[in-house]
Amino acid sequence: MTNTLHRYGKSESFRDDFILFCIPSPGRNDQGAVDKQKAFLRICAKHGPVNMGNGNRGSFRPERHLDPTSHWKRHLDPDWEGVISGVSKPGTVAAVFDTREKAEACLREVKEADLGLSVNMSTSVSGAKEVAESCGIARHSVEYSLGFADPHDHLPNSQVLGLSTMCGHGMVSFNMARKMLDMVREGRRTPRQAVATLARFCPCGVYNPARAMRLLQEARKQSG
């Protein structure tokens, strides 16, 4: 699963996109991993994430029993506790931060907690290196994204790609991202409403609402 690696954008555009995730390795350190993953998420929750997820659900979640009046009062706030208590088996858990400072403070505390699980950071190449150095961590391994190759011209414009690729599993469709861009441009939804709509489709909780908000606001006055 490379669901955080291939996000569309230049290095500078990841200035508000720092994902920390922890993952056990089956047969090596998965015994007792559920409690450790919950501890990891609790540490993350203290440092002001913009999203969190446990592999089954993110902190923005679809609702199963709306009624017609709820169109005017949708939930727009993240639910951290639901994500933490929902960890039921070893897997990947993640938190997304919108500043380097928050991610750095969180990683420092995770390091001190010494959970024994693998911890990865997904962001710009330089961003992760600087955070690691600041925390006194020697990076172990690195996987570079070489971006998307599209020789048959299937992909939409950069604004749609920027929004949709933040769910690396592809659950935020191009059509939905395009629709949200249009609705925000035409004043039919606020950026915050649009972002919550997009984030609900990402079951892993790695969608970055803060970056999406910025991209939507930038796109408001720009053509695609």
Partner: protein, 252 residues
């Protein structure tokens, strides 16, 4: 995928079953009301008749109409590779790949001087048929690369020496899949050149992740330097911070 459309003959939203990759997003990602379908259609028709803009919440299905198909092989393979909350029995983890270098500190897969590749097809948002994945796998196999044994695509190969996949799944469309291979540093250029060349023949998009081990000081310049030399700009990366260790009783 654009698999859902309104069939104007029957006046109903319809799913193109050939394009649908069984990702479950329509069912899982949409919020639901449980309104009467006749009432919903009547309101929509009235609004259309008077040219009213009908603007419901874009992520709400008013009638909770979606249900998952009962899936059997070979169609089941679509869900396995498209729905991220379905666990691969072959890997024990959710998603289309494996641990890659995310657990390289605990379970060494890529060591210094080695290079791991995740060659992903169909993402973002385009999808891919297994026959296209096979075409790439068979070309890569000719380079003598090592296919990662714990990768779901490798499990579907009938012959890992040639990269041949099972015949019964070749026409199935999925959201994405990852071929995972490993070489030494001196093969990077020919692998990346092969991926680019084959991508011209297969009607999908690809995304390559390329990984290696850092040195004891946490530095990595060999692969990064080579990529720059070859003209590949790496803007983003996933970095294993090296905080993991074996803690299971039998593994420690």
């Amino acid at each position: 995928m654009g698999a859902i459309y309104v069939d104007t003959e029957i006046q109903r939203a319809t799913i193109n079953q050939d394009e649908c990759v069984e990702c479950g997003t329509c069912l899982r990602g949409m919020s639901q009301e449980h309104l009467n379908p006749t009432m919903v259609r009547t309101v929509r028709r009235l609004a259309r008749m008077f040219r009213f803009r009908f603007e419901p919440e874009p992520d709400v299905c008013p009638t909770a109409a979606f249900v998952m198909n009962d899936l059997e092989m070979p169609r089941l393979i679509r869900q396995i590779f498209s729905d991220p909350v379905v666990e691969h029995k072959s890997t024990g983890i959710k998603g289309r790949g494996t641990e890659e270098v995310k657990t390289n500190d605990v379970n060494p897969r890529v060591t210094e001087g080695e290079v791991g590749y995740t060659i992903e097809f169909g993402r973002p948002g385009v999808g891919v048929r297994f026959r296209d994945i096979e075409e790439m796998a068979m070309e890569l196999a000719q380079l003598g690369v090592h296919f990662e044994a714990k990768n779901p695509i490798t499990h579907l190969m009938t012959d890992t020496a040639t990269g041949k996949l099972r015949d019964d799944i070749l026409g199935e469309k999925i959201l994405s899949a990852i071929i995972e291979i490993k070489t030494t540093l001196d093969h990077v250029e020919e692998v990346l050149e092969t991926v680019e060349r084959v991508n011209l023949r297969i009607d999908t998009v690809t995304a390559v992740g390329i990984s290696t081990r850092c040195d004891d000081r946490g530095e990595e310049t060999r692969l990064a330097g080579l990529l720059e030399e070859l003209g590949y700009g790496a803007e983003r990366a996933k970095t294993n911070m090296g905080l993991g260790r074996a803690t299971n009783l039998q593994a420690a």
